[in-house]
C-alpha cells in the first residue's frame, strides 16, 4: 500500500487529508493518472508529487510503504 497525503487546495478538492491506495510498483506519472481519475481537476493548479519527502520525477517508481504527497504550488514566506 501507498500512503497519499493532500495539502491546501488539493485537500479541499479531495475532502480528506490522506488515504491509502494499492499503487506499489506504479510510477509517479501513473499515480497522477489514478488521481486525475478519482479527483478531476487535481492536476490543474500545477502541483508536484513528493515521494518520501523528496520531489519526484514522472518515471520514479513507488515502492511498498512509500508516502506520496500532492504538493500544490507553495506560498510560504
Amino acid at each position: 500500500m501507498i500512503k497519499l497525503l493532500y495539502f491546501a487546495g488539493i485537500r479541499d478538492l479531495t475532502g480528506r487529508p490522506s488515504e491509502e491506495a494499492d499503487l506499489s510498483g506504479r510510477t509517479v506519472e501513473e499515480l497522477w493518472k489514478w488521481a486525475e481519475d478519482k479527483y478531476p481537476g487535481i492536476r490543474e493548479g500545477g502541483a508536484r508529487i513528493a515521494v518520501n519527502e523528496e520531489y519526484a520525477l514522472p518515471d520514479d517508481r513507488l515502492g511498498e510503504g512509500d508516502t506520496a504527497a500532492f504538493i500544490p504550488p507553495v506560498s510560504g514566506g
Partner: protein, 146 residues
C-alpha cells in the same frame, strides 16, 4: 548552530540571530516576513499557514546546506510559523551570519527565494470578502464575493 523548524507559537526573531553568532562572524542579516494588511488594494484580516511539516523542515535544512556551500563561512537558521497569524506578526525568520556582510545579505535573500520555490508551506489569506489558498505569488486571485 543551524536550526530549521516549523513552529506553531509566535516567533522570537532574536533567538535565531543568537543561534548563528560566532566569534568569526562580523555580520548577521536577519530577515522577518510579516503579515501585511494591504496587498494590491485588498485588505487582509489575517492569514493561516499550513505545512507538510517533516518535508518542510527537511527542505529548509537542505537550503541551509546549499547556502553554507555557496557562501563560505556562513551559518543559517530558519523558522516558519504555521496556524493563524494576525497583521504584523512574523511568519518567517531567516538568520545568516558570515565573516563579511556581502555574503550575509546575498545568502539571506537566496534563502527566502528558495523557501518560496520549494518548501511545502501554504498560505491562506482571509479577507473581508472571502478566503483562498494562495498558490502562486505572481497571480493574486480575484476576490470572490461570498
Amino acid at each position: 548552530m543551524s536550526v530549521y523548524e516549523i513552529v506553531r507559537e509566535p516567533i522570537d526573531p532574536q533567538r535565531y540571530a543568537d543561534l548563528v553568532v560566532r566569534p568569526e562572524a562580523g555580520a548577521v542579516v536577519l530577515f522577518t516576513g510579516h503579515v501585511r494588511e494591504w496587498t494590491k488594494g485588498i485588505r487582509t484580516l489575517h492569514l493561516s499557514y499550513d505545512a507538510y511539516v517533516p518535508m518542510a523542515e527537511k527542505k529548509m535544512a537542505q537550503i541551509g546546506r546549499e547556502v553554507e556551500e555557496k557562501w563560505e563561512g556562513t551559518r543559517t537558521a530558519i523558522a516558519h510559523r504555521i496556524g493563524e497569524l494576525g497583521i504584523g506578526e512574523v511568519a518567517v525568520v531567516i538568520a545568516v551570519s558570515s565573516p563579511h556582510r556581502k555574503a550575509a545579505y546575498e545568502a539571506n535573500e537566496y534563502c527566502i527565494e528558495r523557501i518560496k520555490q520549494d518548501v511545502p508551506i501554504w498560505k491562506k489569506e482571509i479577507w473581508e470578502t472571502g478566503e483562498e489558498w494562495i498558490g502562486d505569488q505572481n497571480r493574486k486571485p480575484e476576490v470572490k464575493n461570498p
